[in-house]
Symmetry: C2
Subunit: 176 residues, 2 copies
DNA sequence: TAGAACGTTTAGTAATTACTAAACGAAATA
DNA sequence: TATTTCGTTTAGTAATTACTAAACGTTCTA
């Protein structure tokens, strides 16, 4: 027996909401993206509110952060005051801008904190038991190295044109 | 002028808390890990509560999820009823178990949801405008491909012995 | 067997986050 | 200039999440 399109869209939207929430983004963000992603044409704010059940306010703010992350694009029609939004369909582009976005965040400040701890320890300006200081240097250094590796990997991904299956297999092959 | 060790530890711990929160884990989890990570010896539950300011209950539950993720290890001393915890220091090991952990989660269920949507669309059992169905198939398929790529990459990382800086540079070189 | 020393669970609270409803401002239209 | 049509902001509420305090069960010790 046949499934209705509307039902499928709803299921899909629900799945994307979950995924969004899982990655620490508001559920509504996933919902909005899903609706835009399944629309062949750009949608205006009101149409989004209608299809998601969220309020104008919520859609307004969340669609803005989606745009900042590069997951949706804002456009406008001549002689039409409305803003229109459409989903980015190239995820390799999206992932790059998301990662970039994250680089200037709280996260980066925290990373700097770790680096500063390390620098202070190494500069010899720390008072206390010498053996303990040596131990701390080792540990913090190891963590710092790890962060650096992640950072390199992130930058690598940012620079990639496409993160296709072929490339992934190449990576595996090289490293094995 | 000299910085006190205790001050440095506190700053470091604060940084790790932020990082933890940023990745969607409870702040306290980062705090606990930091305390363990900076300790040369395994710590008992009470010592952790003392150094973090959290309560026994909170430490008990959070240390358990840390253990499940492979970020800390539980041990015990002979003739001592206490549990002792120490931090995993090989982050490449940790990251693998975190990723594994995540694979059997809500997230995976959501992914399956997307795949099902695609299968229903492709099976021809969907009622509705044919052109629209075709459009939906394209879109959902593209997303599915993306997820598959991510999945491959994740599995690749899981299989890696070490994700050291050298390897990352190799990846970059190969893909450029 | 009573008591102490553990870790766990539970029930409730505090803090955070996601959202709503409504006021608002700016731009277009009458 | 008054009115409509848009998007944004704000102030408050609902829902979720992180945590506390205390009861609890178990195992060891006296």
């Amino acid at each position: 027996m046949a499934t209705k399109i509307s039902q499928l869209k709803q299921d899909f939207t629900e799945s994307l909401s979950q995924i969004s929430r899982f990655w620490g983004f508001p559920k509504g963000m996933g919902t909005i993206f899903a609706v835009l992603y399944l629309s062949p044409t750009p949608l205006a704010l009101d149409e989004i509110t209608a299809q998601t059940g969220l309020t104008k306010g919520a859609v307004s703010t969340e669609v803005r952060t989606l745009a900042r992350m590069g997951l949706v694009h804002r456009s406008s029609k001549l002689g039409d005051r409305k803003d229109y939004y459409e989903a980015e369909t190239d995820f390799y582009t999206s992932i790059r801008s998301i990662l970039k976005e994250r680089q200037n965040s709280e996260f980066d400040r925290a990373l700097r904190g770790v680096r500063e701890t390390l620098e202070k320890l190494e500069s010899g300006s720390t008072s206390g038991d010498e053996a303990e200081i040596q131990f701390l240097i080792e540990r913090v250094q190891a963590l710092q190295d790890f962060f650096d590796a992640i950072d390199s990997l992130t930058n690598a991904v940012i620079k990639l044109e496409r993160l296709g299956l072929g490339n992934v297999k190449t990576i595996l092959g090289v490293l094995k």
